[in-house]
Each structure stands twice: as C-alpha cells, then as structure tokens.
C-alpha cells in the first residue's frame, strides 16, 4: 500500500511563504493541506487614522507585483466614498495602466515562475544559456509592460501618479504613439508566447468548481462591474461579503472564503470561464491553440488563461491608445475632492482574481474602517481541495514526481502570499 510523505517547506517561485503538507499511510490520505506561514502585516488595522489621500499609496504596498491593482481598487473605493467622478480620459488611462499590470504580472508568472518546471530547471536563469531567445523575449515583453505602466503612473511597482480623482501626470501624445508602435511590434512576441505555452505538456487533472469574477456589459471586466459566479449568482460589488464569507483556519495566516460550495476559484481561469465572449478575437484564437473553451475545469490551465489574457491586453491597449489619440490628450489634474464622511467599496479583477477594498471615512476624510479581501485568500480553500483531489490520483508515482506536481499545482494558482496575509509554504510531512 502506498505511503507518501511530502513536506515542502516554503514553496519556491511563488510570491510569499507557503508550505504543502501531504501524509499518506497505507494508501489512506491522513493529511493534506496548503499552509500559509507568511508574517501577518495588519494593513486593515493600520490604515485607520490615516487621511484619504494616503490610503491607496499605503495599500499599494500590500503587493509589489499587483500594486497597480491594489492602488486602482483602493482609489475606486475612496472615489465612491467621497463622491469623486473621473474624467473620460482618466478612465481610459486607468484601464491602460491596468492592462500594463496584467501583462507585467502574467509575464512574470508564465515565463519566470511556471516555465522552469517544464524545462526541468530551478529558475529562468539557466535558460539564459540554453534558451536565450525565450529569456530575451520574456525580458522584452516585461520591459514593454513596465514601460507602459511607467508612462502613465511613473513606475509599475507602487505607482506615484495614480491618485484619488485620476492622475497627477498625463502622458504625451508622442509617448502614446511610440507605445502603440511597440505594442504592435509585440504581436510577434505574443504569437511566439502562445506557441511556446500551447506546446507544453500540461498536467491532466479536472475538478469542477465555482468560478467567481467581475462582469461588465460592454467589455472584458477588470475595473468595476458586478460580481458573477459560474453557478449563476450575481451581486453588486457592495454586497461582496455575500460571496466571500471569510473565516480563519489555524494553519494559515491568510483567511479562507466560501460561497455556494465548499470553495470557489478566482483569477484568469475564472474570468476566462465567465467572460470568454468578451475576449478580443485574437485572444480567442490563442485559446483555440490551447484547445480551451468554457467551462475549463483543469486548474493547471489557469496559466494558459493568463497567456490568453496577455493577448487580449496587448490588443485592447492598442485600441485604448487609438481612442486617446483620436480624442486628443489634454493635460489634466485629478478631479477635485470635497472631503466628507462616506463609505465605498472598490473592486477590480487584478492579475490573480477579484479584489475588494472597503473603507469608511469620517467627516475629516480620515479612514475609520477598512477591509481588503485578496484574490489569493479566496483561492486557498479551492487550492486545498484541488491538492486533496489530486493526491489520490497520483500517489502511486515516485515521491519526487508527486512533489513536483503539487508544487506545479500551487504555482498554477499564481498565489500571492504577501497579499493574502495578508499567504503560504508547501509542507509534505
């Protein structure tokens, strides 16, 4: 009978500290879990007492990979609380900046964190010698995404110019035209990316679950919209707690969530499953190369859904730039803020899934209540359920292979553990 002990202390190539613990004795699974052991940071507690204009620049620091996502979600919450309306130009720039971040984060995950598993190397570094053109393409695309963000808000990690009411900086039309040319030129790199990842031997594993994302009528949703689930539920953003239902588990410094079932999944695959029809035609072509059409229930293909979204974001960025250039770009200041008491919930579908920021401000514009619900937290129960479902299917294989597959499953979720604590280590005991 199978006996298996896997104890991965600190899963590598993920953002933050998590452990996988699996214990199988005589063919029976005794223990099976994903632990989050990252140090808690207490953002919700310490933003209380801070003025409204600091909040998005503080909460941006929850995550260095998706700081545009946190900053955008945070400003949306504050803008709703204080009744601030964005100009049409500011909206277009917010969306363009967000596409830059989705691209940046997905390139990091697909090329730097996931691809090494398929090449049998510990990191992207040995590939500099063996697959230089792949590494150079990854660096080129990552630079493009970072430069796109920097053009709008100063830098990708912790954007300076993204503030309540819009931006403190306006990109020049010349910069937008140059960025458009680079995005058009990047189509060749995107084609090569799709071909590279579509040819990889993705592990076979199916487990159906509930998929949760934002949705909008007129576009593939990233900022604002309504919350929808693949089980047919729909809620306004303000009712987010009806979906998330957070609870504590003792082996995780990150909270867990559940909705209609024991767990649900958020992220690129959830968005793909819920909003496939709104993807750009080129992104749908990319999905066809992976053989993907909703509903896709193999969580390893979350990475493939990210590649599909990268294609979408490149194409939609070109469209947004065209719209900006057609309208003509004006030097704009952020919309004025009249300080008042108020409450607001912001939601964006950031690279790893749906994110909520919720604040209450007093009449001086000081934050008095705060709540942030992070995508990785929402995925933890689902990831745990996937690990528990996958182990019995693979436990007769060599221990090293089991370990690698479980680590690959964790990585497929692109967990962001710093965010989640607001996250985790794989320990096979």
């Amino acid at each position: 009978m199978t006996t298996l002990n896997v104890n991965v202390h600190y899963v590598t190539r993920v953002e933050g500290h998590g452990n996988i613990v699996v214990d199988v004795k005589n063919g029976e699974v005794k223990e099976c879990r994903f632990e989050v052991v990252e140090a808690p940071r207490f953002f919700e507690a310490f933003v209380r007492g801070r003025p409204y204009h600091e909040i998005n620049h503080i909460t941006s620091r929850i995550c260095g990979i998706c700081s545009v996502g946190h900053s955008t979600t945070s400003t949306r919450a504050t803008e709703k609380a204080l009744g601030v309306e964005l100009s049409e130009q500011a909206w277009l720039l917010r969306k363009l900046n967000f596409h830059g971040e989705i691209l940046d984060s997905h390139i990091l995950h697909t090329y730097y964190l996931v691809a090494p598993d398929f090449f049998g190397v510990p990191s992207v570094i040995p590939l500099v010698e063996t697959h230089r053109e792949v590494v150079e393409r990854a660096l080129r695309l990552k630079k493009l995404a970072g430069d796109l963000c920097a053009m709008i808000s100063g830098r990708h990690t912790h954007p300076c110019a993204l503030v309540v009411g819009g931006f403190t900086h306006t990109p020049k039309e010349r910069e937008l035209r140059e960025m458009r040319e680079r995005l058009v030129a990047a189509r060749a790199d995107m084609d090569a990316t799709v071909d590279l990842f579509a040819a990889l031997p993705w592990p076979q594993f199916e487990r159906e679950t509930e998929y949760v994302s934002l949705r909008k009528d007129d576009e593939y949703a990233f900022i604002d919209g309504v919350v929808v689930t693949s089980d047919g539920f729909q809620y306004p953003i303000e009712d987010y707690k009806k979906v998330t239902n957070e609870y504590c588990v003792p082996f995780s410094t990150a909270k867990w969530t559940k909705h209609n079932r024991e767990s649900y999944m958020v992220g690129a695959l959830a968005r793909f499953n819920n909003n496939y029809e709104q993807l750009h035609p080129r992104a749908k072509e990319a999905a066809a190369k992976f053989g993907m059409k909703p509903i896709v229930t193999n969580p390893f293909l979350n990475t493939a859904a990210q590649v599909v979204e990268m294609v979408h974001c490149v194409e939609d960025s070109i469209r947004i730039i065209d719209e900006l250039l057609t309208r003509g770009v004006r030097e704009e200041k952020p919309a004025p803020v009249t300080v008042r008491a108020g409450e607001g919930v912001g939601s964006c579908d950031v690279p790893r899934g749906i994110l909520f920021h919720h604040y209450v401000y007093d009449e001086r514009g000081i934050c008095v209540e705060a709540n942030c619900i992070i995508p990785t937290n929402q995925n933890l129960a689902n990831l745990n359920a996937d690990i528990c479902a996958l182990v019995p299917q693979i436990m007769d294989r060599p221990q090293e292979e089991v370990r690698l597959l479980l680590e690959m499953l964790v990585r497929a979720y692109d967990p962001c553990i710093s965010c989640s604590t607001h996250f985790l280590t794989v320990e096979f005991v």
């Binding site: 808690p40 700081s67 398929f118 049998g120 100063g154 090293e400």
Partner: protein, 269 residues
C-alpha cells in the same frame, strides 16, 4: 512528466554551490510586498550581465534554490515576529555582507504604522476572536536586530541604484547612497516645486537617489527613502505650517513611511 523534469527538480531541492569563484549571493525576505526583489528581477532587463558577475544560490521568489553557503545576503522586509529574529541572525552569521534591500528592511516602511496603535486592537481588528492564533510584535527594521553593512533605500528600491550598490560591493567599495535631500534632484530635473503648485512634499528632508520620481510625476514626495542624517526639521515644519497643515497633518506626513523613526516600537513595548 518527463525524466528530465523530475531530475531537474531533484537538483533544485538539493541546492548547489558555485565552483566558479564568483561571489555567492542570496535573497531573503520577511514582512514585505516583495516588490524590491521584483525590482531586482526587473533590473535584468537592462543588466543581464549581472548574472555573469555573481552566483545566485538562494532566491525563493524567483528560483528553486536553497543554498545556505553565500557571501552577500540581500534581505527584504521588516522583522515583525520573534521567530523572524532567529532566521535573520542565521542569515547574519552566514553572510560576509548583509544588505537591507528596500524600505521595509531599512526603515520599517509602512509596516511600522501598526506601532502607532495598541497591539491588542490591531490584532483583534484583523483576526477577531482568533487574534491569539497568530504571532506578531512591533514592526522594526533589520538594524534593530542585527548589524547591517549596506542599504538600498526606497519603496520600492530604484533599479539603477541597486545595480550601483552591487557594483560597489563587488569591488569592495562602500555603496554610494546619497545623504542629501530629494530637492537637489528635483532642482537638477528642473521640476516646478510641488509647494508652488499648492501640494505638500517631504522632499526637503527625504534622502535623494530616486531621481525625485514622485515630484517628477506631479505627486509630492512621501518620504519612502527615509529621512536624511541631518534634516532641518524645524524649517520643514515651518513650511508645512505655512502650507496650512495642522500638527496632526504634519505627523501624518512624518509617519507615513517613517513611523519607526518617530515612535520606534511605540505602543507595543
């Protein structure tokens, strides 16, 4: 799952040590957003040759390597739990040079904002009745626990400054981190002063080296690189007072990124 993949994975787990005479470099992190390590990865976009100069033996965020034989340790993050101290001390014992990477490690950054509030309240607010499940104490920079040999300031670090610090360390020189205010770089860039545009800026007392990026993009400096060694704080407070700020407002600006400097472990000890 191919044989090569599994074999490659075994090699990862075993870690490896360099036999090529290059300095061995390791990256570690504590409470942080990991944005500074991400900036290190991004510095390869323009400085891929850095990989020819060093051997990376441990970098959990970006590589499956677990080497504990290293010369230079870059450490991101603040210390926020007693058990973090043990791990940091182990890193210190092993490293010939220990570098604080970014504001969390250098100054405590926004992590230290919790030091301004009573600990029980902070824990209960986030974890409710399960507050006792999770270990935490006042956030502090690395230097509160071990000797730090060099710093790369900022939230996040500046890519070019990081490369300059690495170059200096490799030739045995002290890294060139400025001790003059952001105003100097702002003037050199020809920016209009944020105060003249009706904004508020911590540039007059904040360590330069970022190229005054926030004022350049129209937003006032928030002090993320820490306060210079000899700031004219009285003059700064006067300027802020003239700008119509209350004492509370001024404290907000001085504590946003520099709460540990202002209150240390504050209400926690």
């Amino acid at each position: 799952m191919s044989k090569e993949q599994v074999a490659g994975h075994k090699e990862q787990v075993a870690g490896r040590t360099s036999q090529n005479g290059k300095p061995k470099v390791a990256f570690f992190d504590f409470a942080s957003c990991e944005g500074c390590q991400l900036t290190v990865v991004d510095s390869l976009q323009t400085h891929l040759d850095l990989l020819d100069a060093v051997e990376i033996v441990n970098f959990r965020e970006a590589a499956t390597l677990d080497g504990w034989d290293f010369d230079i340790a870059f450490v991101e993050g603040s210390i926020t739990r007693p058990k973090d101290e043990e791990r940091l001390k182990r890193i210190r014992e092993q490293a010939k040079i220990l570098v604080a990477l970014g504001a969390c490690a250098d100054t405590g950054c926004v992590n230290a904002l919790k030091n301004l509030q009573p600990p029980e309240e902070v824990r209960r607010y986030v974890y409710g009745e399960h507050a006792d499940w999770y270990e935490t104490y006042a956030a502090r920079p690395l230097s509160a626990v071990v000797k730090v040999d060099a710093v790369v300031p900022g939230c996040p670090i500046d890519r070019e400054e990081f490369v300059e610090v690495v170059k200096a360390l490799l030739v045995g020189k002290k890294p060139p981190v400025p001790d003059y205010p952001v105003c100097v770089e702002c003037k050199l860039k020809g920016n209009v002063c944020i105060f003249h545009m009706g904004g508020i800026c911590m540039g007059p007392v904040t360590r330069a080296g970022c190229g005054a990026i926030c004022p350049t993009y129209g937003d006032g400096c928030e002090g993320c690189r820490g306060i210079i060694s000899h700031p004219n704080e009285n003059a700064m407070e006067e300027v802020l007072d003239e700008a119509g700020l209350t004492v509370d407002d001024i404290m907000h600006y001085f504590t946003m990124f520099n709460a540990y400097r202002e209150v240390g472990t504050g209400k926690w000890e």
